[in-house]
Symmetry: C2
Subunit: 153 residues, 2 copies
DNA sequence: AACCTAATTTAGGTTATGCCTAAATTTATC
DNA sequence: GATAAATTTAGGCATAACCTAAATTAGGTT
């Protein structure tokens, strides 16, 4: 009879895996080929190629990435949704903290990084509504919408 | 040259260790003896005595608990500060989410549990100020103060 | 004082994450 | 077609969180 129920991270994604997803997202933006290789990920994350390769394989096995071995990875439908959810959480929270809690840009961003995986959809949607469903964050990046929240005509 | 700096949890406390700290806090409140034993912790956390004992020892080694072997543990100065910080974060966030984000009590509490370790002092202090430095949370528990924030005369 | 029991601790083992180096493999280029 | 660069596999290591089984200790009983 455990009286204490432990809280799990989102979707069986570890903190670290989420960081890799964000790395891949950034690299995909910059890259000309439509695909991201393990070396790029390794450099970005500061780990060895072997490690990067393993992680990419694992994220593929979790259905978050498409993978052509020896060529590279790209986001699957599911992976794109996941990374969008994380980016949305980050950017809405950051914007809210800046505008309503008088937190500096850097501090807001730093804290967003730490909670973006754990914070609940309901809270982000509420912040989003209060902010008027903004399209851009403070760094002028797009804020992904959630359909059930952002029905801005 | 890592371009990505990973975010660490507070004070080298793992998520799980923080849960144990909160368990000990609750048990200390309820207990008549001034000390909490491994069996109590084990039951509360839903783990074996052996596991509880190990964790208590580790938290002692980290300076968060006083420990009299074969008798039990209590909070050290440092441990009390840590658990107060966590409770403060939880209770301020929860109250803010309920009052300003129209989140239900249960949802607010559930999310507070997930972010209480990661959220920054600055954000909690800001929420605290906006709430007018409340003394009690929604469950009518005391909200620990931070000196630099809550100078309520 | 010796005993017994219940609580506690130690010892040794398991699984999963996240990393590594070194060795193989494939792709691409000259 | 050889060779260099990128990628992957194989095998290892450390740490977190657990476990069971075996010791150890404290406290109450006779």
């Amino acid at each position: 009879m455990p009286k204490f129920i432990s809280i799990k991270a989102s979707d069986g994604l570890t903190e670290r895996e989420a960081e890799y997803l964000k790395a891949i997202f950034n690299l995909e933006l910059m890259s000309k080929k439509g695909v991201v290789g393990s070396l790029e990920v390794a450099n970005f994350m500061g780990v060895s190629c072997a490690t990067a390769s393993e992680v990419l394989k694992k994220l593929y096995e979790k259905g978050l990435l498409n993978r052509e071995p020896w060529r590279g990875v790209s986001f699957s439908e599911k992976g794109m949704m996941e990374v969008n959810r994380i980016l949305r959480n980050h950017r809405i929270f950051e914007t809210y903290a800046y505008r309503f809690l008088s937190i500096s840009l850097e501090d807001a961003c730093e804290c967003a990084n730490r909670i973006e995986l754990q914070i609940s959809d309901k809270i982000i949607d509420s912040m989003c509504r209060i902010l008027g469903h903004p399209e851009k964050c403070l760094h002028n990046n797009d804020i992904p919408r959630r359909i059930s929240c952002c029905l801005r005509k």
